[in-house]
């Protein structure tokens, strides 16, 4: 059975190779090949899952060692895979949602002449992401980690003729590279501390290392997670990444890749458990991002950017939960899975809306679309109810658990974290309701564009709506399914560990408080956007609104400090190289040249003067010899 693990990765990888090298011959069939191979991967995943369920909880980990990747004296990296319950969860999510989004893209990218390549990139992404979650050592994980970064780069910049897309892609890759620096330093620290960086040996030896070292490793892993999962302070790329085609936003920048940071932290739980300081920083990062993303999400008029803010915020929840230690690991992953369903669904819905609205993204130019796009409306609506935590739907269970776990942290910390997560729930309800109202309710606000084309909103084709329906199904029932009989907890506990903690308030109280926040959020949004007509041009807004629209000035900060500063630095270094380093050399050359120019004048070309110097020299020599004799 374990021999199948490599096939999970090989299938989409094959697709990527075939589609990218296949040339125009495959333009007609390429998307089917891509979708098929993603589905094959999902099929293998399901088979492995069924097999895994058949075994006892302690005996579920499968490993496959292909060969030694990098063998150098003590530094042994294997091309080896490990499939346990945690990886399995991700495999199903990645290949499952991945396949759905492949199907969706068939319709969405129908009119794009480079559709074959798009599917090649998507397959590449699926392969890299599977490698990331299946690796059994950190170096191989790093391989997948950068692989998804590459796929993300290629897909964000898919419409390369738009300078904004190319810039956004470059930005995403660069910011991720900063995070990758953290991951590589973490691996180096592990190597010098433990002499290995394979999961098993490292986690087994954690007890022997000093806490300071573990904290350092933990912080470096967190830096990596921040980059990939768009957490403060490396969050700035996610909003721009919405330049990519919408299926990409759904798959990579909502459901799977951005949650890799959560995976990394949960996977390295053993390290974090032994380093409380690092955990504290994780929690703080999660809490800050949770509010940051939520606030940004409130102010954006671009439907995808609003959803991107929401993604950031929801991942903040997950990171926070992961930082809580064994109390939160399971719920972080559970929220990750449910979020994968409803956020992918929401993005696909947004894509469907854009598809029908001539690629308009400004929500202020939507309105009343529920009449024109009933399927989209219903699926998006279910996703909406799930994300705000409407009782009974997926988000309700998973988010509620995180809030409870935050309180269960105990002490002042617990109260603060609990408060933040509750506040976040309220803001989530507000901005999602705003998105819902602006898009589907109210009066129609669209106008003909500059060329006089008026959008004709219409429902999207079947290939797009079916994935949306399936994801909506997941958004509704996944949470309940996981929660009944604590299925998810029992499933993951052997890998991540679990302790219940002692919440200072009862679960009922937390749920009630969440409901209050939810109603408040929805109410305020209804008051602002539901009762009165929405202006097509955005009002100037308060200081906070303006700041949030500009992503709380983080891009401006980056621009001034990093971009401008960097430009000055490189320019001055180019100058230094040319004038100083090269100048010294050229200066030496010039002075030698000058000296020889002067010496040259001695050679005036007259045979007589040479003869004089010869005679003079001879005379001096003879005189000197005689003088020496005499003395």
């Amino acid at each position: 059975m374990e021999n199948l693990i490599a096939l999970l990765i090989a299938a989409p990888l094959l697709g990527a190779v075939v589609l990218l090298c296949g040339g125009r011959r495959l333009d007609r069939t390429g998307h089917w090949i891509g979708t098929l191979l993603a589905a094959v991967s999902f099929g293998i995943g399901v088979a492995l899952f069924a097999d895994m369920l058949g075994r006892s909880a302690d005996d579920r980990t499968l490993t496959q060692n292909l060969y030694t990747w990098i063998p150098v004296e003590g530094f042994q990296a294997d091309m080896a895979f490990q499939l346990d319950q945690l990886s399995m969860t991700f495999v199903l999510l990645i290949s499952g949602v991945g396949t759905l989004i492949h199907v969706y893209s068939i319709g969405y990218m129908e009119h794009d002449e480079r559709r074959r390549r798009f599917f090649g990139y998507l397959n590449l992404f699926v392969a890299a992401m599977l490698l990331l979650v299946l690796a059994d050592n950190f170096l191989l994980l790093y391989f997948g980690w950068e692989g998804v970064g590459l796929a993300s780069y290629l897909l964000i910049g898919f419409w390369q003729h738009k300078p904004s897309a190319a810039t956004a892609a470059k930005k995403a890759f660069l910011v991720n590279r900063v995070g990758d620096m953290g991951l590589s330093i973490a691996i180096m620290l592990m190597f010098t501390t433990f002499g290995t960086f394979a999961f098993g040996p490292v986690f087994g030896a954690v007890g022997e290392a000093s806490e300071g070292m573990l904290t350092a490793i933990g912080l470096m892993l967190l830096l990596a997670a921040c980059g990939k999962s768009a957490q403060v302070p490396l969050q700035s790329w996610l909003g721009d990444a919405m330049e990519g085609p919408t299926p990409v936003s759904a798959l990579i920048h909502a459901a799977t890749m951005v949650t890799a940071g959560v995976y990394l932290i949960v996977r390295s739980g053993a390290v974090f458990n032994a380093a409380p300081d690092a955990q504290l920083v994780v929690v703080v990062v999660g809490a800050v991002t949770l509010l940051f993303g939520a606030i940004v999400g409130c102010a954006k008029d671009d439907i995808k950017k609003a959803l991107a803010g929401s993604t950031m915020s929801q991942i903040g929840y997950m990171i926070l939960a992961a930082g809580l230690g064994p109390i939160g690991y399971v719920f972080a992953i559970m929220h990750l899975v449910t979020h994968g369903f409803f956020k992918a669904g929401l993005f696909l819905g947004a894509g469907s809306v854009m598809h029908g609205m001539n690629d308009e993204v400004d929500m202020r130019k939507y309105g009343a679309l529920r009449k024109y796009m009933p399927v989209t409306f219903v699926t998006f609506g279910l996703g909406y109810l799930a994300i705000i935590g409407f009782p009974g739907l997926s988000g309700f269970f998973s988010k509620d658990m995180i809030i409870e776990a935050a309180f269960a942290k105990g002490g002042t910390e617990g109260w603060i974290l609990g408060g933040v997560t509750l506040l976040g729930a309220g803001i989530t309800a507000f901005y999602m309701t705003r998105v819902m109202l602006l898009t589907f309710f109210g009066e129609k606000r669209w106008q003909p564009d500059a060329q006089g084309h008026e959008p004709h909103p219409h429902e999207s084709p079947k290939s797009m709506t079916i994935p949306m329906v399936i994801l909506a199904f997941g958004s509704v029932f996944a949470g309940a399914f996981f929660e009944i009989g604590e299925r998810f907890l029992t499933w993951l506990e052997p890998v991540t560990g679990y302790e219940h903690g002692n919440p200072p308030v009862s679960a009922m109280t937390v749920t009630a408080a969440t409901m209050v926040m939810l109603l408040a959020g929805v109410g305020i949004a209804w008051g602002m956007y539901g009762r009165r007509p929405v202006p097509v041009l955005a009002p100037r807004g308060s200081f906070l609104t303006r700041a949030a629209r500009r992503d709380l000035y983080q891009d401006d900060f980056n621009h001034v400090v990093l971009v401008r500063g960097g430009e000055h630095l490189t320019r001055s270094l180019v100058y230094v190289d040319h004038s100083l380093v090269d100048g010294v050399v050229n200066g030496t050359a010039a002075s030698v040249g000058g000296l020889s120019g002067r010496l040259r004048k001695l050679q005036n070309g007259y045979a007589r003067s040479y003869a004089v110097s010869m005679f003079g020299g001879t005379a001096i020599l003879i005189a000197a010899t005689l003088l020496m004799r005499a003395v």
Partner: protein, 99 residues
């Protein structure tokens, strides 16, 4: 007769030749001055041969004459071709190699 007098004569002839090389521009005169110096040396060699009573000096004098003859051939050829191209036998005019 005291052989030393021949050495004085040789030194005198050599000096005349050397000064001639240093101050004259005409290639032919230069050339003759060089010959003069060579012959001065020859004279000195022969004189030494006489003073020391062996034949070494005379043999070297023959060598010098052979070399001088060869030199005359090459040197005159150069001067003639120089004169043909430049219509002057002045050594200062041959300055093509000068920077």
């Amino acid at each position: 007769m005291n052989p030393v007098n021949y050495l004085y004569l040789a030194a005198l002839l050599f000096t005349i030749g050397a000064v001639g090389v240093l101050i004259r521009k005409n290639a032919i005169v230069l050339f003759m001055c060089i010959e003069l110096m060579l012959n001065a040396c020859n004279l000195a060699f022969v004189a030494f041969s006489r003073m020391h009573g062996n034949l070494d000096g005379q043999i070297i004098a023959f060598f010098t004459m052979v070399v001088a003859a060869a030199e005359v051939v090459v040197g005159l050829a150069i001067i003639v071709s120089l004169f043909r191209t430049r219509h002057s036998a002045s050594v200062d005019d041959a300055s093509l190699m000068k920077l």
